[in-house]
Amino acid sequence: MLERRDWFVVGTGLVIGILAALLVRFGNPGNMGLCIACFVRDITGALGFHRAATVQYIRPEIPGLLLGAFVASVLGREFRVRGGSGSLVRFLLGFFMMVGALVFLGCPLRTLLRLGGGDLNAVLGLAGFIVGVLGGVEFIKRGFNLGRAQRSSMLGGLVMPLMGVVVLILAVYHPVFDPQGGGPVFASAKGPGSLSAPLLISLGAGLLAGILAQRARMCLSGGVRDFILTRDTYLIKGYGAIFAGVLLANLLLGQFHLGFTNQPIAHTDGVWNFLGMFLVGLAAVLAGGCPLRQLILSGEGDTDAGITVLGMVAGAATAHNFLLASTTAGPTLNGKAMVLVGILVTVFIGQLCREG
């Protein structure tokens, strides 16, 4: 039966699912109330690191999640500055998690949100993600390890929370640094980047989700991983709860549309939906957590998670500058090639990195 701790992760999942549906209601893109990959990508574009004009906006949800996790970890006496465990390898894992997510068009969290909005393409994404996690678990069983993290100076752990504050300031004041260039800060006039909930609602939802996710250790790759490794069902209950929460809220709000075609910000190429998320699952297990978990950990002093998030930023910039990201018409040739490269590189990392 459910114990008290289980109720907390279930409650957290339900709140995140319901918040996501509400954020869509308040203006965020369809089935994208919360998406770590998409929103980090939008911020990357707003800062001018990529030039895809339709996906540029400073999403307050991201600094909200980061700062929510920071506050929760400080209050819970869990803020610990640590790092130095395979940092640059983690940068690569973050990079390829982002590439895989942008070929599918969503991180593991958005996979559940898409499912809960009736988007059946996400079934293939979820299947790919689960198989990817199983692959990652095989490497863990064979002794994969990026090494022990060491405690380090306070400053390092404050870098990511401070970057969150800077991004928030840019979101509020929206300065234009190069008037002739039209930015940065850029903001999409059309496309998904132009669709957003009001700033304070987005920020509030991000903060609340960040606090809860930090306390519950919410992690989407951890659910399947822990069940396979130790039959521990704690995190996987969070999965179910996110799905139940968003499904219920979408049904009540009239946002549920079952089918494969005409789904918001999605394509119908099943093979690449599967393989994109396979790459995300594989890389997430090796990195020790999904994009959401990396963001939360980077707020509680884990500088390796911070580097993983920066790898995701680089992955987002590369994905759009080099036309790797899918469009609603489907995946690109470049994107397919890069997913295969990513799988290869991640398998190498899984094979080669063992504790000496």
């Binding site: 819970g76 610990r80 863990i140 951890g222």
Partner: protein, 76 residues
């Protein structure tokens, strides 16, 4: 003599796997040192599911010492 597992600095899911490998040998007592809240909770949950009582001591420097004792050993 209790066995000792040093899980400090290890990311998920390694602390749990290290402890699981030890508990499968059914020792009477295992002491685990962890330095993250997630590891503390995961190791505690694992211990309970494998028939061990869990006692957590807060150490200085943001670490915890988890004492796992085999339940059938306690009762004899």
């Amino acid at each position: 003599m209790e066995m000792v597992v040093d899980a400090r600095g290890l990311g998920c899911p390694l602390p749990v796997l290290r402890v699981k490998a030890v508990l499968e040998k059914r020792p009477e007592e295992v002491h685990v040192r962890v330095d993250s809240g997630a590891a503390r909770e995961n190791v505690s949950r694992l211990g309970q599911s494998m028939g061990y009582s869990v006692d957590i001591e807060v150490l200085t420097g943001g670490e915890w010492l988890i004492r796992l004792r085999r339940k059938d050993y306690l009762s004899t």
